[in-house]
Structure formats: C-alpha cells, structure tokens
Amino acid sequence: MSNRLVHWFKFASPQSFYPLAGKMIPWFWALTAVFGVAGLWLSFFVAPTDATQGEGYRIIFVHVPTSWMSMFIYLVMAAWAGLGLALNTRLSGMMASALAPTGALMAFLSLWTGAFWGKPMWGTWWVWDARLTSELILFFLYLGFIALQAAIDDPRRADRAGAILALVGVVNVPIIYFSVQWWNTLHQGASVSVNKAPAMAQTMLWGMLLMALCFWMYSIAVALMRVRAIILEREAHTEWVKDLAEVKR
C-alpha cells in the first residue's frame, strides 16, 4: 500500500467516518422531509384518481418505492460486503450490517402494502405472482443475513461470514427471480399482472419518483445513524470514543 492510498481511504476508518456521518445525517433527514412532503402532496392531492382502480391505487406511491429500495439496498449491502472482503476494511462490514435491517424493513413494507393493494384490486391478499414470490424470498435472504450476523459473537467474523452470504445471495437473486417467473408462467396463466397496468399519468410517475427519492434518503439517514451506533459499540474500548462529547456526557 502506497501512502497515496491512505488519503483516499481516510474515511474508511471508523474514527474519521463517525463525525462525517454525524454531519451528514441531518442533511439526509432534511432531504427525506422535502422529498416526502413533495411526494405525498403530489400523490394525494395532484395525481388524478385512477379510472379503473379508484383511490385505492395510491398505495403504490409507497409500495413501488419500497420494492425498489428493498432490491437496491441488497445490492448496496452486497457491494459493501464485497468491498470489506476485498480490502479488509472494518467500516465496510459495519455498513453492510447497518443496511440489512433497513432492507428487510423495505422488503416487508413492500409485501405488506402489496397485500393492501391486492385486496381491493385483485380480491385477494396474496397471489403466487412472480414478483411477490421473489420479493418474499428476498425478505428471507435479508433475515438469513441478519440471523447469521446475530449468531456469531466475534464481529469481524460475523462481518466476513455475512459478506460471503450476501455475495452468494446476490448471485442467486437474478436466478431466483427468473426461476420464479418461469415457474409462475408454467403454473397459471397470468391472471393478474402488474405489467399490464394502464400507462401511468405523468403526475403519478413524478409522485412515485419523489417518494422513491424520499425513501432513498431515509434509508441513507437511518443506515448512517445505525452505523454510528455500531461504531460506538465496537470501538467502545478505544480512546477516541471515550473522548467523544456524547459519550462523556
């Protein structure tokens, strides 16, 4: 490792990342609020009532962003995990474990809101549709990751074992998605399909995008808060943590 790399990796050390994260968190919360207010206003007051689905369709303004985030967070988590394995940085593993609960929450919300949307639209809480099923399996993958990390006492080993699981999962997610899709088309004709929804009005699309940004910023803010807690927990023995104003208090 040359000296040049040390500068580049300055924020890879928990000690220097901790205050940086502290400074960034309010900004991400502010962005969450801005996008959230704009998105909710657009989705509740501006977006027109859907001709076929009535007012009930408005749950997609939460449903679609949470589904996107649940998949995106898994990718980000696996990327952090892979980085941690490759470069052996402690912070990467902490980021991965900080993201996992948020990702699981998003997957859960996506399933839950999907059920709420499905009941009035399809007349049933649950169908074994390809998207629903693969979202459910993604939720299981998150739970497995969290459970594995919780079961290992040594945090460094937990990070690295979790990293391998996340990477194996990321290879499997597309395989699972396509297998479920083919399984679905073979079993039952697509009686209900999300794909065939009528083309969306422009305002609806904007509402969805704003809500997606809102959830995105929320995920970052929460993950940063969680990673700060993890840093404090794991570095509790170090001098710099003992010197922190919030720890001394």
């Binding site: 394995l85 399996i137 299981f140 993958l141 739970l143 497995g144 459970a147 594995l148 079961a151 290992i152 006492d153 080993r157 690295r160 074992a161 391998i164 699981l165 990477l167 194996v168 999962g169 290879v171 499997n172 395989i175 699972i176 297998s179 479920v180 083919w182 399984w183 073979l186």
Partner: protein
Amino acid sequence: MKALLAVIRRDLLLAARRKSEVLTALFFFVIVTSLFPLGIGPEPALLKKIAPGVLWVAALLATMLGLNRLFAADHADGTLEQMVLSPTPLGLLVGGKVAAHWLVSGLPLVLLAPVLGLQFDLDAGALGVLMIALLLGTPLLSLIGAIGAALTLGVRGGGVLLSLLVLPLYVPALIFGAGAVEAHISGLGAGGHLSLLAALLALAVFFAPWATTAALRIALE
C-alpha cells in the same frame, strides 16, 4: 486428483461406520413423503399432481439433515485445520467432501424416489424424469448446502440457522426439479427444465467450492 479420491474414500468409510446417521435421513425422506397423502387425502388425481413437489420438498429437507455434519466432526477433531494447511488446494478437498456427502445422502434419494413415486401413481416416464431431475438436482443441493454448512460452522444454533440460510437458495432447484416432472406429465417435455437444472449444477460446481473454502477459512481463523 489423488487427494480428492482419498477424501471421498475417507468420508465414505466414516459414513459406513456410522450407518444410522445415513439411514435416519433416508427414513426421514420416506416418512415425510408418506405423511402427505395422510394429510391431504387419498385421491389419486390430486396425489399425482402434487407428487413431484412433495418428493422434491422432502428431498430438500432430507439433504438438510446431513449438512450439519458435513464439516462439524472434522472441525471438532482438528482435521479441518490440517486440510486448510495442506498443500492440496482446499477447494479440491471441499469438493471431495461434498461429493462424499452427495454419495451418502443424495444418491440414495435418487434411487429411492421412483419407489415412492409409485405410491403417488406416477407412470414410468414421469419416474424416469424424476430420477434424472434428482440426479442433477441433489448434487446442486449438496454444493449450495456446503456453503451454508461452512458459514454456520461452530455457530450458536447452527442447525436452524443453516436451514434459514440455505432453503431460500434452494428455490431454483426446487422449481426446475419439480417443474421438469410436471412439464413431462402435462406433455410439455422436460428438456428445458433439465437443461436449466444442469446449467445451475455447472455454475455451482464452479463457484460453490470456492465460496465454501472462503467461508471455512473465516470460520477457522
């Protein structure tokens, strides 16, 4: 190659000395498949429809039973550390252990499945497809399961955790394996499903030992 064969021979010998563990998993497979008709009812048409799924789910669970022991005994007596330290690539040794696990827990399932399939009123063609699908699918289960077994090595509550980690990853094998039989029964032809299963197996043969060795090294450090 010699090391690979030596590991396989050793693990088979160990399994032969402890026959009850192997037989327990086999009887588990038989009993679980026999429970389904009791719970669902004896209508032949219905049983024929659910047969591929039932047999495959039972095979998944039966393979899970033996996974815990894949590395546990070697970890306990230090053999695993010697394997990691040996000049032979660890991936090869792990491949040998996985192959032995398959010979002990996967192959018997393949041979037993047609007999159980008869109970579900499957015809000869469907039984043949079921056997081919299991022949391609059970090594896949052993390979993926080895990753989970290595990750949960020496971890609290490893057994239950192992199933939580591995079962979601088994979904594609289950879908294509059971799908092959169903496609054959419905006259669509099982070729596509079997090819996909074989493709997954080829992927797993290449990547799974690699991931398993990485997990083992983490567990042992």
